[in-house]
Amino acid sequence: MIRPDGRRLDGRRPDEIRELKIKIGILENADGSAYVEQGNTKIYAAVYGPREVHPRHLALPNRAIIRCRYHMTPFAVEERKSPAPTRREIELSKVIREALTPAIIVEHFPFSAIDVFIEVINADGSTRCASIIAASVALASAGIPMRDLVAACSVGKINGVLVLDVTDIEDKYGEVDMPFAMMPNKNEITLLQLDGVLSLEEIEKAISMATKACKEIYEKQKSALKEKYIELRKAVEESAKT
C-alpha cells in the first residue's frame, strides 16, 4: 500500500492530508451547521442550542449539557448498514462529545442543552475526525462561546510508515488507526485513541505529525467561518465604490 516512490494508494505522501472542503450554514433550521468533505468522506453537522433540556432531570444547574449523536446513513458504507445505532456509533458519539466539550464554555448556559448532530453520508475513513472538524465549526457558527476551535486528524501506519488522514482501505489493511483531535491555540489534545500497536516513541512522533496537520486544518476552519462575512464585506465595499 506504499508505492516504491513512497506515495500511498491515492498518491499522497505519508504526511499529506486529503483535500478538505468546509461549507458553513447549509442547514437553515439549525442554529449552526457545516458540511465537510475530506476526500470521499462526507459529513453534515448541525448544532441546536443552547435550548431547553428534555427530559428536565438531565439538566445541570451550573452549566449546559452537551449531547452528541454520531450516526451513519445506511448507504454511507459499502454493505448497507442498519439505521439503528450500533455500539460503534454509541462509542463514537461519546468520544466526539468529549473531544468538543473542552472547547465549549458551558458555564454560560446553566439548565440548557447544546445538541450536536452528525450524519455521515459517505464514509471513507477518519469519519470521527471529519465529524469533529464539522461539528466544531458548526458550534462556532452558532455563536456558542468557545475557548478554541477543535481540529482533528487520524494517524495510521502502513508498511511500518506513519501516515496522516487514513482512508477506509488504509484503515482496514493498515497496522494502526490513531484518531486525534486538539484545540490548536491552546495546544490541548481532546481526542486520542489507538487501535493497533505502537511504541511510545512512535506515539510521540504520531502526535507531533497530527498536531502539525491540525494546525493546517484549523486555518481552513477559520477561513470557512469567515468566508461569508468577508465576501459580503467585499460586495458592500465594491458597490459603495460605484
Partner: protein
C-alpha cells in the same frame, strides 16, 4: 505588548488577539499572557480593553431588558412565554388581570391566549430559575396588530445604534412604530403595509451587514432610494 488585530477585524474562537497587559473585555479571555476570542465577531479595542462584538449567538436574559415573548402555556396563576431563549419567561397573571380579580378563579386564557405576543421587561433572572417578566409599563403589554420579525440577538445592538441613532432613523424615515426586543424579536407597526415591509427590509440589511463599517450611510442611502421609488 503586541496586539495582533485592529478594530473591525473578523475573528473566530481561539484566535490570539494580543499578548501582554491588555484587559479582556466581553467575549475575550486571558490565558497566561495571551488574549483569545471566544466567539465569531468583530474586534473592538478601546483604552487597553479588547472586546469582541459577536456576530452570532443565543440571547442571554438580563434584568432590565425589553423582550418580546409569545405565550405558550399556562401555570395556575401565570403565563409561560417563549422568549427565543433556552429559558422560558413567567408572567404573573396579576399583571394582566383587572384589579381584584382572583387569578385562581379566572380563566387565564380570557386575558392572554396561547399564541399572543407580549412586549415585556425582565424583572428577575439569576440563571438558576426561569426568567420573570412584567408587562406593566408604558409601551409594554399585548400587541394585536403589526408584524413580528426575528433576527439574531447578536445584531440587536447594531440595530439600536449608538444612543438609539439607527433605530430612530428607521422609525423617522418609515413612520413606523418599532419595538426592539433584546431577545431578537422585533415588532413593527406602520401606517400601511408598505412602510412595514420597508422597515423589515432595512432591519434585515442591518443584520446582514453588521460587520461592515459605514452602515449608517448605507442605511440612509437605502431609505432615500426606497422612499424615492414609493413616491
Amino acid at each position: 505588548m503586541p496586539i495582533y488585530v485592529k478594530d473591525w477585524d473578523l475573528v473566530v474562537p481561539g484566535e490570539v488577539l494580543a499578548e501582554g497587559d491588555y484587559v479582556a473585555g466581553p467575549y475575550v479571555y486571558k490565558e497566561g499572557n495571551k488574549l483569545l476570542a471566544t466567539t465569531i465577531g468583530i474586534v473592538e479595542s478601546k483604552r487597553g480593553v479588547i472586546r469582541v462584538v459577536p456576530l452570532q449567538g443565543p440571547y442571554i436574559p438580563k434584568v432590565g431588558d425589553v423582550v418580546i415573548g409569545i405565550v405558550i402555556d399556562y401555570l395556575p396563576t401565570a403565563y409561560v412565554l417563549d422568549i427565543n431563549s433556552s429559558y422560558k419567561a413567567i408572567l404573573q397573571a396579576t399583571e394582566v388581570l383587572p384589579f381584584q380579580k382572583n387569578a385562581l378563579a379566572e380563566d387565564l386564557s380570557k386575558y392572554l391566549d396561547v399564541g399572543d405576543v407580549v412586549i415585556c421587561k425582565i424583572v428577575r433572572f439569576d440563571k438558576y430559575s426561569d426568567v420573570v417578566v412584567s408587562c406593566k409599563g408604558r409601551e409594554l403589554g399585548k400587541v394585536v396588530d403589526g408584524r413580528l420579525i426575528k433576527v439574531s440577538p447578536a445584531k440587536i445592538p447594531r440595530l439600536i445604534g449608538r444612543k438609539g441613532s439607527m433605530i430612530n432613523l428607521i422609525k423617522k424615515e418609515t413612520g413606523c412604530k418599532i419595538v426592539i426586543g433584546q431577545n431578537g424579536f422585533i415588532w413593527i407597526k406602520g401606517k400601511d403595509p408598505g412602510s412595514e415591509v420597508l422597515a423589515e427590509k432595512v432591519i434585515r440589511k442591518i443584520a446582514e451587514e453588521a460587520h461592515v463599517s459605514g452602515l449608517t450611510q448605507r442605511v440612509q442611502l437605502m431609505l432615500q432610494l426606497e422612499k424615492g421609488v414609493d413616491v
